[in-house]
């Protein structure tokens, strides 16, 4: 392990320790729940980050896949007594299969056309879900009962019943998922994706089976989204179709691009932007609570800013700006001492 890798691992371990140990003590349960949701959306963002940043495939159907993941997980939680991680795995695999089918058009389409097809999928899910509803402990295939009194919530793992414990559980699961993504991008698959992103013709000439690797990217992204869906089911307890809006798929793309598509850290920033920023704005300014869609305007401005000045996203821009600020301060300090010297 060289020095820079060692530093990187240390930073990750320190951040993880801070998130797991310090934050639950420092923050109230309300903010811990918000952070749990932000972490879950970071995982959803990771899927899209891989598709857009690594392979060059734009999907606007990720929230649709999140719904699929939540639904499948909820169904299995009520139907079976399987351990929590197994249900997460099942929800990831089933969402992965559905996402791969959704990826089939990607073999022929790209750019705007692929974005539209996947948006249609998200739209389709948002029509189907209010009809079939989320499982809430009822019988039958759909597991939904109309009576709303006394319905059980989706269970949480026995070691993570409270909100702070579930938050820790979520962060650990998501850290494992990020590791899975990291293993992928630094392996044969990741290099194949980089080749496809650069030029499909050159990738084929390099011996890359682009059909296989594009579908593999969709499968992985959908798997991650399915696991996120399972975590969301455990987090919310009771799921309603009204929680998932087709437009969130578009917001997700915006925050993923703002966070930065070429770095996995960008996905964490995207999760915070999608969940934490609106919550903070609600908390600070009642205006946003009364006009929730105004946050879209903010993201619009943000995406414009990123596209114009920082195509690598905030994950790249913020450290750069901080370095520039540091240099500016140093220069100002130098000037100040330079001026004061003759007087002394």
């Amino acid at each position: 392990m060289d020095a820079s890798t060692a530093v990187r691992v240390l930073v990750i371990v320190a951040l993880l320790a801070f998130a797991l140990l310090a934050l639950p003590i420092l923050l109230s349960d309300y903010w811990i729940v918000v952070l749990t949701e932000a972490a879950i959306f970071a995982l959803v963002a990771l899927g899209l980050n891989l598709l857009v940043g690594r392979v060059g495939l734009v999907s606007l159907g990720q929230i649709g896949l999140l719904v699929v993941g939540s639904w499948v997980a909820a169904r299995f939680f009520f139907l079976t007594g399987l351990p929590f991680p197994i249900v997460l795995l099942i929800s990831g695999v089933i969402t992965g299969v559905i996402g791969t089918l959704l990826g089939l058009p990607a073999l022929r389409l790209s750019g705007l056309h692929l974005a539209l097809i996947t948006l249609m999928f998200a739209g389709l899910v948002s029509i189907v879900i209010p009809t079939v509803n989320f499982p809430n402990g009822g019988g039958g295939v759909l597991g939904h009962t109309e009576s709303s009194f006394g319905n059980p919530a989706v269970r949480r793992p026995s070691i993570a019943q409270s909100d702070p414990a579930y938050y820790r559980y979520t962060v650990i699961v998501i850290a494992v998922m990020f590791l899975l993504a990291l293993i992928h991008i630094s392996s044969k698959a990741g290099r194949a994706w980089a080749a496809i992103r650069q030029s499909e013709a050159a990738a084929i000439a390099a011996g890359v089976n682009i059909t296989f690797y594009k579908l593999w990217a969709f499968a992985l992204a959908s798997f991650l989204t399915g696991v996120a869906g399972g975590l969301l089911a455990g987090d919310e307890g009771k799921l309603y179709s009204i929680q998932f809006r087709t437009i969130d798929s578009i917001t997700l793309l915006a925050v993923v691009m703002m966070g930065g598509i070429y770095s996995l850290w960008g996905a964490w920033i995207a999760g915070l932007l999608q969940q934490l920023v609106p919550a903070l704005l609600n908390d600070w300014f009642g205006f946003f609570e009364r006009n929730p869609d105004f946050v879209l305007v903010l993201f619009g401005v943000g995406i414009l800013q990123v596209l114009v000045t920082a195509p690598e996203g905030l994950v790249n821009q913020v450290p750069k700006d901080l370095r520039n600020l540091g240099r500016l301060l140093a220069r100002l300090a130098g000037k100040a001492t330079g001026r004061s010297r003759p007087a002394t």
């Binding site: 290099r191 194949a192 992103r197 030029s199 013709a201 011996g207």
Partner: protein, 238 residues
Amino acid sequence: MIEVEGLTVRFGGVTPIDGMTVTFPGGTCGLIGPNGAGKTTFFNVLSGFVTPAGGAIRAYGEDLLKMADYRRARWGLRRTFQQEQAIERLSVFENVAMIHEHSSGSRASRQSAVGDALAFVGLEDVAAQKVGGLGAGARRFVELARAVVGKPRVVLLDEPAAGLPEEQTEQLGQVIRAIPQHFGALVILVDHDMTLVSACCETTAVLDFGRLIASGPTADVLRDERVVGAYLGTEEAV
């Protein structure tokens, strides 16, 4: 050896390759012709990007057109592009290694095969650098290393010297000339730089409007009247 027989490609009403019959015997072969003569289209047929309307291509006795496009790299067909396509986000080493791993090179031989290809083009010192940070000239050499790593059988070079200064073109020529001996591969070189073509290629074929108008030893071909008329315009240009 590559034998092309009666190859015809049609795009709607246009026929960029019209009944081309030619043999590339081995070593380094030139393929020249004016813009639009069908040179890149021919490469795209070999790569599997374009399906011909008729004709056959046998490479070392095998029917190349029957192979799936991405499997041709595994068979040993490699190429570069007019617009250089080294992968910006990967390091020089990874750029070359990914071809090795996707063309079924064994993991055990990767380090040495990639090292050999990088040393062959003279890039071993920048192996760890990201291609995005390299200059245009170095990128051309990265592409060349990608085209020769492992066990190439046919290497297609599409204007590899485009945009390079004279000194680097000369260096590129030396590397290209050494490919057949070092790797045992047949090289087909498309370029407009006649100095490079004459320096590298023992034989040369000339295309004009999709038809083969001459082929044979490079010096003879470049003196051929039809070639001079169709492609070079005036004798002084030779």
